[in-house]
């Protein structure tokens, strides 16, 4: 089981690294666009491409965010409950988070499938297909769900 936890932790870090590369690429693309445009050329794909990269980056960053407790929460309850109770609460919260992420993964997968099957594109001049934008949601949140599962396993293993 502990190998599963390590594997998921590793995957989360790799995803965060990919997200970093995406963000850096977005920075470079937009910066390049401004200078390209300043030279009198017209830009048409850069903005949309940067948005695709950003959306992918934040969903891919989500498992790492979950791993490092980066998703902000109002943790009042656990501060005022005895240790045993707050362990139970933490376990429940991880389980609920897991279910929510799983639900969004399924919804995101359906959205992606429909966009892929219908060949849906955006309405811009560039008209890229939309499924690569959508697919980051089921991938990112699916891995986030796995990260919560890993948290539960970690806690069970520790106690």
């Amino acid at each position: 089981m502990i190998r599963f936890v390590r594997l998921i932790d590793g995957v989360s870090v790799v995803c965060a690294a990919i997200a970093s590369v995406f963000l850096l690429t977005a920075v470079l693309v937009v910066t390049w666009m401004i200078f390209y445009r300043a030279m009198g050329n017209s830009a048409f794909w850069e903005i949309e491409f940067a948005v695709y990269l950003m959306v992918a980056a934040i969903f891919l960053g989500s498992p790492y965010c979950a791993k490092t407790k980066g998703h902000v929460a109002v943790d009042l309850l656990t501060e005022f409950t005895p240790a045993a109770a707050s362990r139970a609460i933490a376990l429940t919260l991880a389980a609920v988070s897991l279910v929510i992420c799983l639900y969004l993964t399924v919804e995101g997968a359906q959205l992606t499938y429909h966009a892929w099957a219908s060949g849906e594109t955006t309405e811009s001049y560039w008209r890229p297909v939309k499924w690569p934008l959508f697919i980051s949601m089921p991938i990112g949140l699916g891995l986030t769900a796995l990260q919560y599962l890993a948290e539960i396993v970690r806690r069970e293993h520790a106690s």
Binding site: S20, L23, A26, V27, A50, A57, V74, G108
Partner: protein, 439 residues
């Protein structure tokens, strides 16, 4: 069931779910799903993923990760230390000079950073140990950083103001400009307080007169800060010259900051760059997940007519408009103690927007009032993010001391809100001067 009843149940359920400690993003999704399932009719759940995706795939939102990246690059580098050191050299002989140097450094750092905890962390991690080492009262030292950090979301760029602009369809450039003068005003008020508090303290006066720096030493300090100031000037030039949109400026700013930390501070090892990007990804994801979830939440509120009902009820209240403003601020203050500014703005502005317009309040002016108000929530328990930062940089100072030290600064923030209410021009003249009247 009437919309009012649904609204009340929604408020109670939302508070309960969030107070359980579920991450805010997932909590908002959970509440939305519950209410859409029960009250939304058979097809209400069909658009869940689409609503979140529609909200997130916006060029305006790209500003957020890019400004976070800009702040993180400079935060990881030694730039914070340099700004702080050079200011300290100039202020060494002033009573409380060290504290004032910290506050000014927070103000300057805020001009490249859009987040409050990030500002507090960048300056605090060098400033607080240094102040404590040199015998500044722990309350004043930590309070100054706690409060100084909040300048991050008032002085542009500001993630809070970006979201406000998106939520209320006001110009982000105009909002940024409106934050400049009130930001400078708040920095001056904080610095004046630090000066007076130190004057009254004999130990602080003795501390100040010990050190002297020669003019060349002072100038050398300035030189190291110059490239950093260059980024601020570049951002201002691009933005207020109308050459680029906020998202484009954020990209250029992040690019310049990365070049700066690689070229000048020699931060080019992958392990060091990873620190910058790791923090950026983590914070951006946190903010944008809340934004996506809040979009779903707003969709749900609007579908169930809760937004409209609440706004109508507030508009129809027969009350002096300033009384209403005080009530709105009290509500925001309480909300701000529990929820981060991001969530509050996206959940409440759809309701407050028509109320403000019906009562003839300027939306740009209100953005600044709201930002200062939400800043207070960042330095008060239970969810004061800046307090956690301070706990990280100065674990030996008890939270009660930090809080007691922050209180005079909180009082100054309230005073600033009152001053801004009496003289709205403080916020409004600069954007009007540069961009003409409008929103």
């Amino acid at each position: 069931m009437s919309e009012t009843t649904i609204g009340v149940i929604l408020l109670v359920v939302t508070l309960l779910v969030l107070f359980c400690g579920l991450p805010i993003a997932w909590g908002l999704v959970l509440v939305s799903l519950i209410f859409l399932t029960i009250f939304g009719g058979p097809n209400a759940l069909a658009v869940v993923a689409n609503t979140i995706m529609d909200e997130l795939s916006s060029f305006a939102l790209l500003t957020i990760p890019l400004f976070v990246l800009l702040g993180a690059s400079i935060g990881v580098s030694a730039a914070g230390k340099d700004i702080y050191e050079s200011l300290h050299r100039w202020l060494a002989r002033v009573p409380g000079g060290l504290v004032i140097a910290n506050i000014l450094a927070c103000g300057l750092f805020a001009a490249v950073c859009g987040s409050s905890p990030a500002t507090a962390a960048a300056i605090g991690k060098i400033g607080v140990p240094e102040m404590l080492r040199r015998g500044v009262a722990p309350g004043l030292a930590t309070g100054a950083i706690c409060a100084g950090g909040t300048l991050g979301i008032l002085i542009p760029p500001s993630i809070t103001l970006i979201l406000y602009g998106i939520a209320t369809e006001t110009s982000i450039g105009r909002l940024f400009l409106a934050g400049v003068v009130p930001g400078i005003m708040l920095v001056s008020m904080f610095a004046a307080y630090a000066w007076i508090a130190s004057l009254l303290n004999a130990k602080a006066v003795a501390l100040a007169s010990q050190e002297t720096y020669t003019l060349p030493e002072k100038m050398r300090g300035m030189l190291r800060v110059a490239p950093f100031l260059g980024i601020i000037v570049a951002i201002a030039y691009f933005m207020y010259g109308g050459l680029a949109t906020p998202s484009e400026i954020a990209a250029v700013g992040a690019f310049l900051a990365l070049v700066l930390v690689v070229a000048i501070y020699r931060t080019w090892r992958i392990s060091e760059l990873w620190l910058i990007f790791r923090d950026t990804v983590r914070e951006s994801t946190m903010i944008l997940m809340i934004i996506g979830a809040a979009a779903l939440f707003s969709y749900m509120m609007s579908l169930l007519y809760v937004t409209q009902t609440a706004a109508d009820a507030l508009v129809s209240i027969e009350m002096n408009r300033w009384m209403l403003m005080v009530l709105i601020n009290l509500f925001l203050l309480v909300a701000g103690c529990f929820l981060p500014p991001v969530a509050i703005i996206l959940m409440l502005m759809p309701i407050l927007n028509p109320v403000l317009e019906a009562n003839d309040f300027d939306l740009i002016w209100f953005a600044i009032i709201l930002t200062i108000n939400l800043e207070v929530g960042l330095i008060t328990p239970p969810v004061g993010l800046n307090l956690y930062v301070l706990r990280g940089v100065a674990p030996q100072v008890p939270l009660s001391t930090v809080l007691a030290g922050s209180m005079p600064f909180v009082a100054l923030m309230f005073l600033a809100m009152v001053i801004l209410s009496i003289f709205p021009e403080i916020a409004l003249w600069f954007p009007t001067y540069l961009m003409g009247p409008g929103r």
